[in-house]
């Protein structure tokens, strides 16, 4: 427990330092935050443009897609804020600066996660929240406190699932030092995939992101439950409630992978 508190404190300290440092170029920070917000929003703009020609995509209306989109973007934005820079591990392994992280009396994971902490990523999170808010207000759902709580838990669990994916991607860099783009196809690819209804995709792809890389728990299964729709795989109803469990299991698993990666690390010696 003390170790965890130490790690979190270290994370916050390093993150705070990076926030102060980015504030030096304030104009650039503001531009980057807006840019980050717009970058996420462009995907939704594309969806809006699509819906200017159609009434439903894969059988889903615009407010329903907004709910799917908003939930996944908020989760992804949070995970990206917390752990997004872990992908820089590969670069550090390559140029030898990873060694400096190992000799400091601070958990390596906390240092890696807070490395170049970028507050501007709140731009993406807030854009996701805005779309989610609109989706909640306009989708055809009879909201109850329980459903609202379920949505909140879903967003948090989704963020945790994306964190696990980021962590797995970072651990992978110990073995393949310049392949951070493979991780991108699961993180950025994942968030792009989940923005659209599952009915759009081939059955095997949906199966893959349910059972292999369980991204479907980020938003597809829970939001389909909220909308009162069947999931395309016809899983039993309770499965869509399992997001938090999946998140915890996935975090534990990727934590082990991270440890294994860290143990296998050999310095470049430069």
């Amino acid at each position: 427990m003390a170790l965890w508190a130490h790690a979190v404190r270290a994370y916050l300290l390093i993150a705070g330092m990076w926030v102060r440092s980015t504030m030096t170029y304030r104009a650039s920070f503001v531009l980057m935050t807006i840019g980050n917000c717009v970058a996420g929003g462009l995907d939704f703009l594309a969806i809006l443009l699509m819906f200017s020609h159609i009434d439903a995509l894969g059988g889903f209306t615009l407010p329903e897609v907004a709910l799917l989109y908003g939930a996944t973007c908020t989760s992804f934005g949070l995970a990206d804020l917390i752990l997004g820079n872990a992908e820089r591990v590969g670069q550090r392994v390559r140029d030898g600066t990873f060694d400096t992280l190992l000799v400091r009396p601070v958990p390596v994971l906390a240092q890696v996660a807070a490395d170049r902490f970028a507050l501007r990523r709140l731009g993406r999170t807030s854009q996701g929240l805005a779309v989610l808010g609109w989706g909640v207000a306009s989708a055809d759902v009879a909201w109850t406190p329980l459903k609202a709580l379920f949505l909140l838990v879903t967003v948090v669990a989704g963020a945790a699932i994306f964190c696990a994916v980021f962590l797995a991607g970072a651990a992978f860099q110990f073995w393949a030092s310049d392949a951070s783009e493979v991780a991108n196809s699961f993180t950025y690819g994942g968030v792009t995939l989940l923005q659209y209804p599952p009915t759009v995709f081939a059955r095997d792809l949906v199966r893959g992101v349910t059972f292999v890389v369980p991204l479907a728990f980020v938003n597809w299964l829970p939001v389909l439950r909220l909308l009162g729709r069947d999931d395309p795989l016809h899983l039993p109803g309770w499965v869509s409630l399992c997001g938090p469990l999946v998140a915890v299991a996935l975090l534990a698993l990727t934590g082990l992978v991270w440890r294994a990666g860290l143990r296998s690390y050999r310095s470049t010696g430069s």
């Binding site: 020609h53 995509l57 196809s185 690819g189």
Partner: protein, 266 residues
């Protein structure tokens, strides 16, 4: 001329050394190709001939877009960060007294990079797309040759745009924000999210007149055969025109920037 050819070759070689990164990029482009292809199928099932494309052409748009993504630096990741770093830390002074032109030097290096990315990151995703989906790819070798011309012009325009953004560092010190805005404009107005012809009304016309459309929309349209005869010449002329204008602008800015450059001693 021989100097710049050598620079281009070394640009090619430099990127060819990152084999794992290239393989990873191919994987990512292919994954995104699949995701986008399915969304386009859903869209074109609802509205066949949307934007003047049939389903095969729309899918070709997706996969050619993924194949060109790295070559034309749709998402950035080219030379602009490196050039800005040199401006910020003063190394630019060394570049400026070299007996080579700054703009041509970086253009040559970028052309070399693009040539590698086209081969290294373009061929495999497009092949994967052609195997898994019904694409509208031409059999006529001449069309492929014209497509290569369009891609070359697209690379030059992409370079010229990013060169302008990079030079902003002379005035701004930290140019990351400007680069990001540039990337967003490029992603949106190049047609990489949706073909520009799908944009509503007059907005579509404006978007197609902007230089970014020459980076992706025009090369893809050349490949899938939307142009013939005079139209084809017009499309390539449109690209060449923007390339000339943007390169000239870059040259003008370079002149002003270098007169302004203050090199710190020590």
């Amino acid at each position: 001329m021989r100097l710049y050819a050598a620079v281009a070759v070394s640009g090619f070689r430099r990127h060819a050394t990152y084999r794992m990164a290239t393989a990873a990029g191919v994987f990512t482009n292919t994954v995104f190709g699949f995701i986008l292809a399915y969304t386009f199928i859903a869209l074109w099932d609802e509205r066949p001939h949307l934007g003047g494309y049939d389903r095969g052409q729309a899918l070709t748009f997706v996969w050619v877009g993924q194949a060109l993504l790295a070559a034309v630096s749709l998402l950035g990741g080219g030379f602009e960060q490196e050039l800005q770093a040199r401006i910020r830390n003063g190394d630019i002074a060394i570049d400026l007294y070299r007996p080579a032109d700054l703009q041509l030097w970086w253009l040559a290096a970028d052309l070399g990079r693009a040539a590698f990315q086209l081969l290294g990151r373009g061929v495999v995703p497009l092949t994967a797309g052609a195997l898994c989906f019904e694409l509208t790819l031409p059999r006529d070798p001449l069309r492929w040759l014209l497509f290569l011309c369009a891609v070359t012009l697209a690379v030059v325009i992409g370079f010229a745009l990013r060169f302008l953004l990079a030079l902003c560092a002379f005035w701004l010190l930290d140019g990351d924000g400007v680069i990001m805005i540039g990337q967003l404009l490029c992603v949106f107005f190049s047609g990489s999210l949706l073909p520009l012809t799908v944009f509503p009304g007059a907005f579509a016309d404006v978007a197609q007149a902007l230089p970014w459309s020459a980076v992706l929309q025009v090369p893809v349209d050349v490949l899938i055969g939307r142009y013939a005869g005079a139209g084809l010449a017009g499309a390539l002329g449109f690209q060449a025109g923007w390339a000339a204008v943007l390169l000239a602008l870059g040259r003008l800015t370079q002149g002003r920037a270098t007169r302004k450059a203050v090199v710190q001693g020590g």
